[in-house]
């Protein structure tokens, strides 16, 4: 597969931005007392990067609780994301959603989602909109190996296949649903095997290798855009940390396993694959790492300097239109 220089730079920049966001932003969020709902996707950068490289702002994605990478790959501004994690009004969700609900409708980002596989039908619905209004847009429904066992996903794969919707079901199989290993919880050897039951292509790729993801995603997106229906794409990947910042992953997995996957780091693999080709130099990659590092310092500063929401904002945006009196009647938040 031949990728031009701009695409190579884009892929690496996206991955290093995600990595730096996770490594720097999550501890900082914790220091501000709000780490309870934050899940790191460090290690999984190649998946959203390789997939979203085929999408425009007009296309849609539905994301998961581990969704910072999806947001960044879909073009959401990391500064605004950091503000959202810190609960500031300058976040895309005005500080009302946090890590598990980051959405940016201007980028086709239908939200990270706190319920496993719950965003899948939203992506399917966006695909339906595209089909009915002939918009030519596609939607990607991200879910994990845990989400692979949710009923709503299976209902949606069937529905999308019956209606030939332009949607890609993307399983980020990182090996663990919280602490439960995938080989315990999955009835099939691979999630991708399940595609056969819904008469759609099921492809399993190395989710640590952004080129592998990029190529498979390209085919699935092309199929969707051509009106040929949905695909299931399983990307085998690994999360470097626990389910949240609170659990010790060594309570359910081995150091050897972690070392093995760290040795297959997606940024490292990219460097090994690209450097000999000469299209992009190691210095350029190092420079992008530095830029990402600086971006995070800017983002943290921006977020800290942004205001927290005023108390009255608790009542904002519950509805487009509803009597305010009924939401606050008999309630006094000031006491």
């Amino acid at each position: 597969m031949e990728l031009d220089r701009n695409m190579l730079l884009y892929l690496y920049r996206t991955m290093t931005t995600i990595r730096h966001f996770e490594e720097r932003g999550i501890p900082e969020t914790g220091q501000r007392g709000m780490s309870g709902s934050v899940h790191s996707s460090a290690g999984q950068e190649a998946v959203p990067t390789g997939i979203c490289a085929h999408l425009t702002n007009e296309d849609y994605i539905g994301s998961t609780h581990r969704g910072h990478g999806h947001c960044i790959a879909k073009g959401v501004d990391p500064k605004l994301m950091m503000a959202e994690l810190f609960g500031r009004v300058t976040g895309p969700n005005k500080g009302k959603g946090g890590s598990m609900h980051i959405a940016d409708m201007s980028k086709g980002m239908l939200g990270t989602n706190g319920v496993v596989a719950a965003s899948v039908p939203l992506a399917v619905g966006a695909a339906l909109t595209s089909k009915l209004r002939r918009l030519g847009r596609v939607a990607v429904a991200f879910f994990g190996d845990g989400g692979a066992n949710q009923g709503v996903l299976h209902e949606c794969m069937n529905l999308a296949s019956v209606w030939k919707l332009p949607v890609i079901f993307c399983c980020e199989n990182n090996g663990y649903a919280e602490s439960t290993p995938v080989e315990y919880a999955l009835s099939t050897a691979r999630v991708a095997d399940r595609a056969a039951g819904y008469d759609m292509p099921g492809v399993h790729v190395d989710g640590m290798d952004v080129f592998d993801v990029f190529e498979a995603a390209g085919q699935a997106v092309q199929r969707a855009r051509a009106g040929e229906g949905p695909s299931l794409l399983e990307c085998r990947t690994y999360r470097y940390y626990g389910h949240t910042v609170f659990d010790n992953p060594l309570s359910y997995r081995t150091q050897e396993e972690q070392d093995y996957w760290r040795g297959r780091d997606p940024l490292l693999l990219f460097r090994e694959r690209v450097a000999p080709g000469g299209l992009v130099s190691i210095d350029e990659l190092d420079f992008m790492d530095l830029e990402a590092q600086e971006l995070m310092e800017d983002a943290i500063r921006f977020a800290d300097e942004s205001p927290l929401p005023a108390l009255e904002e608790i009542y904002e945006d519950v509805y487009v239109d509803y009597p305010l009196d009924l939401m606050r009647r008999g309630i006094n938040l000031e006491v």
């Binding site: 849609y60 539905g62 976040g91 895309p92 969700n93 005005k94 500080g95 009302k96 959603g97 609900h101 959405a103 940016d104 409708m105 239908l110 939200g111 989602n113 706190g114 319920v115 719950a118 965003s119 899948v120 039908p121 939203l122 992506a123 399917v124 619905g125 966006a126 339906l128 909109t129 595209s130 009915l132 209004r133 009923g151 709503v152 209902e155 949606c156 069937n158 529905l159 019956v162 209606w163 904002e316 945006d317 519950v318 509805y319 487009v320 239109d321 509803y322 009597p323 009924l326 939401m327 009647r329 008999g330």
Partner: protein, 347 residues
């Protein structure tokens, strides 16, 4: 167009026909309106055999829509409520005005996550970035020997959820006006059709009209006690009011219409004049709308009350199957009369 709470027309339609007309007129008005659900046309995919609209909906509320609007706007779905309710919510948040039909409210368990965690919360979680113009049609009501999983009147659980609205029309006029308002509304609205009302007829204007969400109406004026009815229970209240009149008890009857927002003001204004309240509710009593309305009246109109705010509801049981048990389950006029008489006369 918003209109008054009473019709000024002589044309009569059945409740089910009023629902059908509202759907048809909104789909004619706005091409982004789509409807999906199980058997809403029926016999799907058999056009090549000359089969179209085999059922017209399980209760014929959607009959004729597929012929007029085609199978891209009238979408029969697999039996996958979580998928199609969620898909409708996703479509609504990306530019459609989506209607989905959940055949019976008792089935909400299989798709509740999509209502509770997506439809109701997306706008709030996303900081106001999205509108979700989604209407879920569903059915309530016991009295048909349908037993515990096809008969409930679970609207209170939706009233409880911030981010959702709900309406429970009681006659053909409100069925049409509230459905048009629900579809045009930019928030998710659950629309409760009562199975026992489908055959009822009443005046319905031909032109489209919207009845504002969140407004109750007074269907009978009185001075001695306020009876609040929800959906079919409104007519149980009027029947009770007729029976109380010869005893010299003059009952006012309020038809709630909206289960969220709730028109507390109209009820409290009424109670301030009548000094007594009975809420008549086909739903079960604990943590119900009936309980909520009584609590609100007790908090805000305590000094006006001459008797405890009271409830006539179904018992805290599932809906039973056998006829005598189901008859006993349902609130009726006799129970309302007895309760109201006791509050007014102390007997």
């Amino acid at each position: 167009m918003t209109t008054a709470m009473t019709p000024t027309t002589t044309r009569e339609l059945r409740y089910r026909e009023a629902i059908n007309e509202a759907l048809r007129q909104e789909m004619e008005r706005d091409e982004t309106v789509i409807i999906m659900g199980e058997e809403i046309a029926g016999g799907a995919g058999r056009e090549h055999l000359g089969i179209v609209d085999a059922w017209g909906g399980p209760f014929r509320t959607t009959v004729g829509l597929i012929q007029q609007f085609g199978n891209q706007r009238v979408l029969d779905t697999p039996l996958s409520e979580a998928a199609f309710v969620g898909t409708a919510i996703g479509a609504a948040s990306t530019g459609m005005r989506a209607v989905a039909e959940l055949m019976f409210v008792d089935f909400v368990g299989v798709c509740m996550d999509q209502l509770l965690n997506n439809a109701a919360k997306m706008r709030y979680m996303f900081g106001g970035q999205v509108k979700v113009p989604f209407t879920m049609l569903t059915r309530i009501g016991a009295g048909f020997g349908s037993a515990a999983q096809h008969s409930e009147s679970f609207y209170s659980i939706f009233s409880h959820i911030p981010g959702l609205k709900g309406v429970a029309p009681s006659d053909p006029y409100t069925a049409k006006g509230l459905l048009i308002a629900a579809i045009r509304d930019d928030d998710p609205v659950v629309y409760f059709e009562h199975k026992g009302l489908y055959g009822n007829t009443g005046p319905v204007p031909e032109e489209p009209y919207a009845i504002p969400l969140g407004k109750a109406r007074t269907v009978r004026s009185g001075s001695d006690i306020t009876l609040v009815g929800i959906s079919r229970m409104t007519w149980v209240c009027t029947e009770a009011a007729e029976a109380l009149a010869p005893e010299g008890v003059n009952a006012e009857v309020v038809d709630l219409l909206s289960v969220s927002p709730i028109d507390y003001d109209l009820i409290i204004d009424s109670v301030r004049r009548t000094h007594r309240l009975v809420v008549v509710d086909e739903d079960t009593p604990i943590c119900s709308l009936a309980s909520d309305i009584c609590a609100r009246v007790a908090e805000e109109a305590f000094d006006y009350l001459d008797a405890p705010p009271s409830r006539v509801t179904a018992p805290h049981t599932p809906v039973p199957y056998s006829r005598p048990l189901e008859d006993a389950y349902l609130p009726n006029a006799a129970r309302v009369v007895k309760t109201a008489r006791g509050l007014v006369t102390g007997r």
